[in-house]
Symmetry: C2
């Protein structure tokens, strides 16, 4: 997936640099993270300003997108760089489970078409109480 990323950057005329690779690798390991988590994790290895610039590039190139989970703004790799999925976020323990459902996707396509909308991406966040938290 990382080579894919390098090619992708180059195809947009952007250089493959150390900070960009470090941010990308962090995102590969940490699905659904925050900007400040990236900054903290790379503290001493990459400058805040570069991380912000990198994240802003990644957003524009569709490498990452923003998600709201549990009231917090988070970022994650897009489908192009991780497998397409959505989240069930538990309001109690804060954890997120991954969901991938074909029928749901079909429905979304139908809705976009009906409106003459050319859908590029979508995201779904379900909030509630997960199975294990219901037992407490």
């Amino acid at each position: 997936m990382c080579n894919n990323f390098k090619q992708y950057l180059r195809s947009y005329g952007l250089n493959v640099t150390v900070p960009r690779l470090k941010v990308f690798r962090f995102l590969e390991i940490n699905d659904l993270t925050t900007v400040s988590a990236v900054i903290n994790h790379l503290s001493g290895q990459a400058d805040r300003a570069s991380i912000y610039r990198t994240i802003s590039h990644f957003r524009k190139l569709g490498i990452i997108h923003d998600v709201v989970a549990g009231g917090k703004r988070m970022i994650e790799l897009t489908d192009r760089f991780s497998s397409h999925h959505h989240h069930l976020s538990c309001l109690k323990c804060g954890r997120s489970e991954v969901v991938a459902d074909h029928k749901l996707e079909t429905d979304l396509e139908r809705i976009s078409e009906k409106k003459g909308f050319r859908a590029v991406s979508h995201q779904i966040e379900i909030s509630g109480i997960c199975a294990s938290c219901q037992d407490d």
Copy 2:
């Protein structure tokens, strides 16, 4: 809907105050707005700090929730205080259309059940190019 809101605040032991009412009314009129839009609009009528405190209360009480639309973090009233709907956001012009689709809702319920998840709420954001922007 506004009386509903007053009762709701009181049921949580919170006072009905002028700034809280003003923020709520603004949200009733402006579906899918930003914190800074609220601050700008109420400039001179309510202090920034109070608005932040109000919004943070509203979030905790489930009066509003956060949504990412067009890469921006936005807020809107929850289903309890506005009719249940989702958004199609245009990446070009930035506008959002409202979607309400029964079949989609049924699908989401099925998914939660399958995972033993007790869903409380959900949100869906579809990004793409709207019909009128496709013509340009």
